[in-house]
């Protein structure tokens, strides 16, 4: 009986403390709801609306009819229309589209020629999911209305996978994994490093010295930039040695992108450290940001397959942009200049979040 009362005392005390830690309490309700929403929306293997560009060099009635049938299939969403195959490849390399449809000028003649494919579909094959979806287009029939039914063929579309012709998963996963690993460590390290000093009382000493907020914050994150770049090297080496993941683009570009991403996460870590009071809370908030970064960044599921709301959330996360950068540089040999939008987003994100963090961090206790 005594044991039971002691047990009860522990349980009551624990519940009481839990109910007073508002952040933990929020997590108890918030995490399952957010997780179920994220998983429910993001995990969609029936990918549709792949961003597509069309180069219609034929411009005939039949070719236009084919394009509108493509559109009606809902597998693709035509976002751009260009003149040449080179323009299609450029869009693919820059990550603007996942699929390029090339309709050659002799399209009408090819349709009746049994030996030649009428249409070429260029696919960013770095993501095997996208490739398998694109393969469903292969069997679309193309024929003149006048052609008899028995002459309608299903082999007139040629699929040309780019960047990952062997369809190996690590080729797609490793560049993304770099983002996830860097984010997790960088964000957590900085958040905990500052919160720990607050917990131990070091911060009260520090803020009573002439050291400025900026010196304190920048000084705290500089060592972690080094650690982040080192991590980047480790992942790249292992990816190449163990999984034969190529680095087709420039290593320097990769490091430039990596530095921007590391800075973004360190800024985020600093911001977390200004809103949490214990290391435990800092870890909870990190997990809270980590979840959508894994699920909504395009790391696990193709971005195109997610509903619009999930895509908006994904666009906010730095990991989404970094993964686009790494896949672009490593797999599609894109120079960082062609991926400018994602790079500048990371820079802007860092500036905004860093400003917020510095504003919240005052050298006062009230």
């Amino acid at each position: 009986m005594k044991s039971l009362s002691r047990l009860g005392a522990i349980v009551k005390k624990e519940v009481l403390q839990l109910s007073r830690d508002r952040l933990t309490f929020g997590m108890v309700f918030g995490l399952p709801i957010i997780q179920i929403l994220l998983f429910g929306y993001a995990i969609n293997t029936d990918v549709r609306n792949l961003r597509t560009a069309v180069a219609n060099q034929a411009g005939t009635h039949l070719s236009q009819q084919f394009v509108s049938e493509l559109r009606e299939s809902q597998i693709v969403r035509i976002v751009d229309s260009v003149e040449s195959p080179e323009a299609l490849e450029s869009l693919l390399r820059r990550g603007k589209v996942s699929i390029g449809v090339l309709i050659p000028s002799d399209f009408d003649r090819r349709v009746v020629d049994r030996n030649r494919a009428a249409v070429q579909i260029l696919v960013d094959g770095s993501d095997p999911t996208i490739l398998s979806v694109a393969n469903r287009l292969r069997t679309m029939p193309i024929a003149f209305d006048s052609a008899p039914a028995e002459e309608r063929r299903h082999d007139q579309i040629e699929i040309r996978p780019f960047y990952n012709p062997e369809r190996r998963t690590p080729v797609n996963i490793v560049p993304g994994l770099m983002g996830i690993i860097l984010m997790m460590t960088m964000m957590l390290f900085t958040a905990v490093a500052i919160v720990r000093e607050r917990e131990r009382g070091n911060l009260e000493l520090l803020i009573n010295t002439p050291v400025s907020s900026a010196e304190l914050m920048i000084g705290k994150v500089i060592p972690y930039i080094g650690i982040g770049l080192f991590q980047l090297a480790v992942i790249l080496t292992f990816g190449q040695v163990l999984f034969d993941v190529p680095i087709r683009g420039s290593v320097l570009d990769l490091y430039i992108a990596g530095s921007a991403f590391i800075a973004a996460n360190l800024a985020l870590g600093l911001l977390i450290s200004t809103v949490t009071h214990t290391q435990f809370q800092a870890m909870q908030v990190t997990v809270f940001i980590l979840m959508p970064s894994i699920l909504l960044s395009g790391f696990m599921f193709p971005f195109d397959g997610m509903p619009v709301v999930a895509q908006y959330i994904g666009e906010v996360l730095p990991t989404t942009h970094f993964i686009r950068l790494t896949r672009g540089i490593m797999l599609r040999e894109a120079p960082i200049g062609e991926l400018g939008r994602d790079f500048y987003y990371l820079v802007a994100f860092t500036v905004v979040v860093m400003t917020l963090a510095a504003k919240r961090f005052t050298k006062r206790l009230d």
Binding site: G201, T209, R364, L365
Partner: protein
Amino acid sequence: MPSQYAIEARGLSKHFGDLRAVSDLDLDVPRGQIYGFLGPNGSGKSTTIRMLCGLLTPTFGTADVLGTKIPGNANLLKPKIGYMTQKFSLFSDLTVHENLKFISEIYSYPASDRKRRIDELLENYDLIAQRKQMAGTMSGGQKQRLALACAVLHHPELLLLDEPTSAVDPQSRRDFWANLFRLAESGTTIMVSTHYMDEAERCHRLAILDRGVKVADGTPQELQAATGMHIVEVIADDPYAAQAAVNGKPEIASVTQLGVRLRVLIPERYENPIEIVNNALASENVSGDTQLATPTLEDVFVAVTMFPEEKGR
């Protein structure tokens, strides 16, 4: 011409929600003296010290600390003050020497003189043997010496010490105070909060704080002279019975037992304190010797915190 006061505060107040941690505090701390801040836990000592070094913004009131206005740009003040927190706040996972070196760099202490200054501090604060020890593994007294060494490294004009001796043994406390006197002699102004009476007695001047209000200030002698109370000491064979006999009498303000002795506080407006106590003892048939005693700071503390209206009648 700098003011003769290191700290001049007027109407300093700090409210946390409904809690008035410090109310309408006036302070004048002369330069080069040790100024004590005496009060029980929660009386607003730490809050006041934190306001004076710019860590907390006063709800009302102002202060002038070494010529810097509070509230104002506290950054101007930081190089001139040394601050010792109540809790040990140096880096547990750095050695004694590494901690001192870090502090010297943070305060931009001249690099050419750094080594000499650190060696001097290690010597003065008896930390030579601990030089390479992790700060976290040291005893309470050693930690406190390191904290003081770090607080004075940059030769601050003003030292703010928040209950510096609450975690150390009596010998360490004595040594600590010897260090404070040495610093005061060399011109450093020291403001130290404490709840130990014997420490308060060593200060040049002190203020007594009770629930955020200053209830008395002056030199220890002035305070002892102005309690507004007679102190009657009773030595009784049965101190419990004696206490029961005097307790509750309308003339008697307070009774404190110290072993076999009782200290009885009677407001000065009664002219015959010995008689009052003797009568009280006689009425209960308790025997005991009574004599008048001089007030200690503890008596002052009881008098001003419990019966402020009797003071200086």
